[in-house]
């Protein structure tokens, strides 16, 4: 079981801020592939993964990062704070 969080337009496209899922994905990219295969709204959110950032347990990571032991994955657009 892993918590998956979405922010900004990723959240809007998927239509929810957070969900708890069961996955056998090894890497972030595997997890994204699983989500995209589920429903059109996930495919829309991850249509261009260069425009999506990922954090594992609240630390920035890469799509190639392994997710073993991770409790919280978050997907969001490039940040625009400041």
């Amino acid at each position: 079981m892993i918590d998956v969080l979405y922010f900004a337009w990723v959240r809007e496209r998927i239509g929810l801020p957070k969900e708890r899922i069961t996955t056998s994905a090894v890497t972030v990219a595997d997890l994204v592939a699983e989500l995209v295969a589920r429903e059109e709204r996930y495919a829309a959110a991850f249509a261009d993964t260069r425009a999506v950032r990922v954090a594992l347990d609240q630390e920035l990571a890469d799509f190639s990062s392994p997710i073993a032991g991770v409790r919280e994955v978050a997907f969001f657009p490039p940040m625009t704070g400041g």
């Binding site: 954090a55 609240q58 920035l60 940040m79 704070g81």
Partner: protein
């Protein structure tokens, strides 16, 4: 005195600047930066800032710690709002205190560059023509290369 505050309520730039300077001890140089919502001639009615509770505090604290170490700051402060913010209102501020001005300026610019691109905040602009997420600028990402 290294302080990070992520909050939805407004803050007073002057009051925070004075408190910071008072707490910064004998530093010769204090730099403060205030970021505000621009008016853009009525194109914008309100800005909404989304953030990632938990990660935000962690990321901003890490950025501030890095600045404090690199420039030997006697004090550092970051305040960043989230939620709805009207044109002209303060979005965020940073403050740095160091022995000399070069360090205080460099640290403040470093903080701003990293907060722009590495702290989990997202701005959405609401105007008469609808709402739009602010796009990240390549220039903001490139600004990190200088550090």
């Amino acid at each position: 005195m290294h302080t990070v505050r992520i909050q939805d309520r407004p803050f007073s730039y002057g009051t925070e600047s004075d408190s910071f300077a008072a707490a910064a001890g004998p530093a010769g140089a204090v730099v403060t930066f205030l970021g505000r919502v621009r008016d853009d001639g009525g194109r914008l009615s309100v800005m909404e800032i989304e953030h990632y509770p938990g990660m935000t505090e962690r990321a901003v604290t890490a950025i501030l710690d890095e600045a404090v170490t690199r420039w030997d700051l006697t004090a550092g402060l970051v305040i960043h709002r989230h939620g709805r913010i009207a044109p002209g209102e303060a979005i965020m501020m940073v403050a740095t205190a160091a022995r000399h001005r070069a360090e205080a300026f460099a640290a403040a610019e470093f903080l701003m560059d990293y907060l722009k691109s590495r702290a989990p905040f997202w701005k959405k602009e609401f105007g008469p023509d609808g709402a739009e997420w602010v796009a990240a600028r390549d220039a903001d990402e490139q600004a990190l290369d200088r550090w």
